[in-house]
Symmetry: C2
Subunit: 268 residues, 2 copies
């Protein structure tokens, strides 16, 4: 089972605290020792860090934990390989350009044997996840006009996510740097922090933070992840089939589609 981590904020915010918690699950507190990656948007640009090494022992992860990279949208993933070798090209998040924006995609779950429809985008690695990402982008190019309005795009994203979830476990983070689309097939939870800010303590590491000291009263920062990262805050768990769109730290659209009940979710 892999772990997902995303952030949506109304002001450039670093993710050091949450990343510290998630990172411990990569080969230390959890079994996810098969690489990790994270994308930080800054305006239209994006920095993506990928490392096939376990995040708990990664020098690059150490730098990200200690070097605040401020971003309004971030998309991260820690991998436990079950489809595709442990290799750089199989490490999430995957990235492609569409309509002049960088789109990033991170997936928790498994959709066995999935092959992307033919089209512009082709997988570089071997994961079902990257095949789904390419399939989704090819579908968007096939079905929608370039630069279509957000509502039309969202309808396609929801329909596609619902279909992928019929075929396996499909917990999804997807962003173009402007919006963050999240879809829960089996596991997803979120927290929105805003004034009055309080303290929080990580579950996976002996680290606490007082957000009030690090924020201004107008800040709104949401963290979306597969399992709650803190032990003393109230997380808002998604229902299976629930999707939410995040912008500037707030939910701007949400809904639910039917998904099959899965007795034994497994994950990549």
């Amino acid at each position: 089972m892999c772990e997902l981590l995303a952030m949506s904020a109304n002001t450039p915010t670093d993710l050091c605290f949450s990343f510290t918690g998630l990172r411990r699950r990569g080969g230390e507190a959890g079994p996810h020792g098969d690489g990790w990656g994270i994308a930080f948007y800054e305006g239209r640009g994006v920095r993506v860090f990928h490392d096939p090494a376990a995040s708990a022992r990664s020098r690059i992860a150490e730098m990200i934990e200690s070097h605040p990279i401020k971003s309004e949208v971030a998309v991260g993933h820690i991998r436990q390989a079950n489809v595709g070798r442990v290799a750089l090209e199989n490490t999430h998040p995957f990235i492609r350009e569409l309509w002049g924006r960088y789109w990033t995609f991170a997936h928790n779950g498994q959709v066995a044997g999935f092959a992307a429809r033919p089209g512009t985008y082709r997988p570089v690695g071997e994961t079902d996840s990257e095949h789904i990402f390419c399939d989704l982008l090819n579908r968007i190019r096939d079905e929608l006009a370039p630069d279509v309005d957000d509502a039309t795009l969202l309808a396609t994203l929801v329909a596609a996510a619902g279909e992928y979830a019929q075929r396996g476990v499909f917990n999804l983070l997807l962003s173009n740097g402007d919006w963050l689309f999240t879809f829960c097939s089996t596991r997803m939870t979120a927290i929105t922090r805003r004034a009055p800010f309080g303290p929080a303590r990580l579950r996976d590491a002996d680290v606490a933070v007082d957000f009030e000291a690090e924020t201004t009263p107008s800040d709104v920062v949401s963290v979306i992840t597969t399992e709650p990262l803190t032990s003393d805050e109230r997380w808002d768990t998604y229902q299976p089939g629930e999707w939410r769109v995040w912008q500037q730290g707030e939910i701007t659209a949400r809904g639910t589609v039917p998904v099959p009940e899965l007795a034994h979710p497994t994950g990549d």
Copy 2:
């Protein structure tokens, strides 16, 4: 004038020594304080580091200098902005997926007012460089069948590079992780290191290395850059209009096309 740095090797090799020299030119020994980036291929995968901060003062650059990332192909760039703001999305190398491989592109020079032809690939930022990259990829998709043989692809790359160089200064590094295509409009030089290996000393920093202690007798490692990085080795300078393809540290194809003489090359 920006600086380019690439490597082609027949065994995974780190670029710490050369990067140490180049990095000093980013806001310390040189005027290139407007960001930097570097892509390291590992098989089909690639890690790309981008930073809009001056490389001489960048924490990420410090980590790359001290943390050996072994690669067979690397493509790097240090920027002095003259077209496009100092921003993450304007930082080279640019990256796109084509035919199931990640292509990376770094450009030194300026091709004023260049606009990419319409097509699949669109620029995310504002630089003439990214417009040229998208134009090149759109041209390849327009003119060539998918997965065309290397000789046919190369003919298109050479023709396109020659045309871009008619319109401005166009020194180019382009790779898909398998081959490295280099084109010299005004400035490009290279060195191939192989047994017997010797010592070398950087021009821009008080650092020397004894390659014999770090290599095996069968290693072949070539470094391609806009200006020689060492003071005590013999670099092989490209002629204006000269292109070379590098694979596994060796030149596998080369040639020359006519380019205009430019009195005052300027660069991005």
